[in-house]
Amino acid sequence: MAELTGRWHAYRHLLGAQVRSQTAYRASFAIDLATNAFIPVIDLLALLATFRVTPTLGGFTAGDVLVMYGLSASAFALADLVVGNIERIRIYVREGLLDAILIRPLGVLAQLVTVDFTLRRIARLIVALAVLVIAVTRADIPWTPARVALLGWAPIAGAVLFGAIFVAGSTVAFWWIESGEIASSFTYGGRDFTSYPINVYGQLFRRLFAYGLGFAFIGYYPALALLGRSDPLGAPDWLRWCAPAASIVAATAAAIVWRFGVRHYRSTGS
């Protein structure tokens, strides 16, 4: 127990150091924050532009889709803030920096996300949460305690799911150093995918992303639950509340893939 708290303490200090070095130059940090805040705004404008040509999308109004977007953007921004820099594993593997991580008495994954923590991404999270709050206040939601709780945990469960994709995707770097943007197509692609109702997608695409990778649980199902609507595709109503379970499954799978990757690295050294 004492060891665990000590380790937690260590991660906190690593995080603190990273934040200190990033905020050392205040002006440049402020510019970083402002540009990052802009990113979800641009996405949002693209989304709203769609509704200039059609009043509804798959039977959902702009207000409904805005709830999905708010959930998805918040989940993505949180995941990106916490584990997004795991993408840098490529650089660590290529330059042998992972060895320096392995000789410290701390977990590999936890070290990677703390030593490269990028605070400026918090701006995206703040904007995304603001959009979510505006969306749910403007949408016609029959509020119940269960729905209030869902609004609290849905972005977190979604972030775990996105985080699992980030981690599992970046593990490819252990086998294929030049893995490039493969992981990004699933993470950034997933963010765009989850901003829209899944019934607008083609069947193959929907099966692969919405169900296969569980992206339906990030924006679509929680939004249906909030709005008190059933899935036009016919999924049972209880499924709308299952984001936490889906995120646990995804996180477990990602943990297995990650351990497998680290073991591979340690037997091949590349």
């Binding site: 260590a10 042998g96 000789i103 008495p105 340690r266 037997s267």
Partner: protein
């Protein structure tokens, strides 16, 4: 008490190499980077681990530090099996990989040490004592508040040494600690390692290509080539094995009345009517000091000079000639090693 800090038996690491043979076909074959290394290192030893590039030095170090999993063979460091016990081992060892910094690039050097205290969970008082000693020994004070990225290579290496020792490791692994350093920094690092060695409680394993490092620091040398140990012994053993000898040149007022008999000393040349003598020493049983003392007791000395054997030649010869004949010396060196006499 068991004083063996590192023990390996039949340590082996294979890598799979894929080679292009056709437009699409790839041929795979396995290469043994480390091919059956047996090594015992006792507490307090300073071991020089040498070998040409690609001999398997770094691969061995990675297996000893828990970074790489051996293909076969046994390895124990501080009584632990490195890979499964990685975190616990990390508390007991310090590692300086020349090119892979443990320091925080954008923060003042001082902050890296403070972070290391939390990473290795060192009690504050112990940390302060050790840091004070290391600051003093490695003269860190002038650049303690400088961001690491602004440090010179020599300053950074002194920082790396400090951070690797703040948790009082039982073993320190150094991968080319003096590579690229200027003369002054090299000397500072060497002087520090000499002191560490002489204190005797930290075991040090050092890989280097620097011959001065070897002469100044390493009482025991393990030379590997093609993943096998080709020499394990002191520098003197190495000289003895390859027949390199130190020479003592003396100039006397008068020739010697009777030839001098000292074990391990041979008269190589006698010129200027016996007044200019060249003795060669086998470097193991006789010291230049003994020889000079004996000479001074029977004759009047005018001038003395000592010629060191060329270690460059010895190592170069070792790297080129013993490729296939992996013979280890019959004698296991004692834990304190035998430093070449000076």
């Amino acid at each position: 008490m068991n004083d063996t800090v590192i023990e390996t038996t039949g340590l082996r690491k294979e890598f799979t190499v894929t080679r292009k043979v056709g437009r699409l076909r790839r041929a795979r074959h396995t290469v043994a980077a480390v091919d059956g290394i047996d090594l015992r290192v006792e507490r307090g030893e300073l071991l020089g681990y040498l070998g040409p590039n690609g001999a398997g030095k770094s691969t061995t170090l990675k297996m000893l530090t828990g970074v790489l999993l051996p293909t076969s063979g046994q390895v124990h460091v501080c009584g632990l099996v490195p890979v499964p016990a990685r975190r616990r081992l990390a508390q007991r060892i310090g590692v300086v990989f020349g090119q892979r910094s443990q320091l925080w690039w954008d923060l003042p050097l001082r902050s890296s040490f403070e972070l290391a205290r939390h990473v290795w969970q060192v009690p504050a008082a112990e940390h302060a004592t050790r840091l004070a000693r290391l600051r003093d020994a490695l003269e860190l004070d002038p650049f303690l508040d400088t961001p690491v990225r602004q440090l010179s290579l020599g300053q950074r290496m002194r920082g790396e040494l400090t951070i690797s020792l703040l948790h009082a490791p039982a073993v320190l692994f150094l991968d080319e600690p003096t590579i690229g350093l200027d003369v002054v920094s090299k000397q500072a690092v060497r002087a520090f390692l000499t002191e560490l060695r002489d204190r005797g409680d930290t075991t040090v394993v050092l890989t280097t290509h620097d011959l001065a490092d070897i002469e100044r620091l390493c009482r025991r040398l393990v030379v590997i080539d093609h993943g096998r140990v080709v020499h394990d012994g002191s520098l003197a053993d190495l000289h003895a094995r390859y027949g390199s000898r130190r020479r003592v040149l003396v100039e006397l007022d008068e020739p010697l009345a009777t030839p001098l008999q000292v074990p391990g000393v041979e008269l190589e040349a006698s010129t200027a009517e016996g007044r200019l003598l060249t003795y060669s020493l086998d470097g193991v049983s006789a010291t230049a000091g003994e020889l000079v003392a004996r000479l001074a007791s029977v004759a009047q000395l005018r001038d003395i000079s000592v010629q060191e054997p060329e270690i460059e030649d010895v190592i170069a010869r070792l790297y080129t000639t013993v490729k296939d004949t992996a013979v280890s010396l019959p004698s296991q060196p004692d834990p304190r090693g035998r430093a070449p006499s000076r």
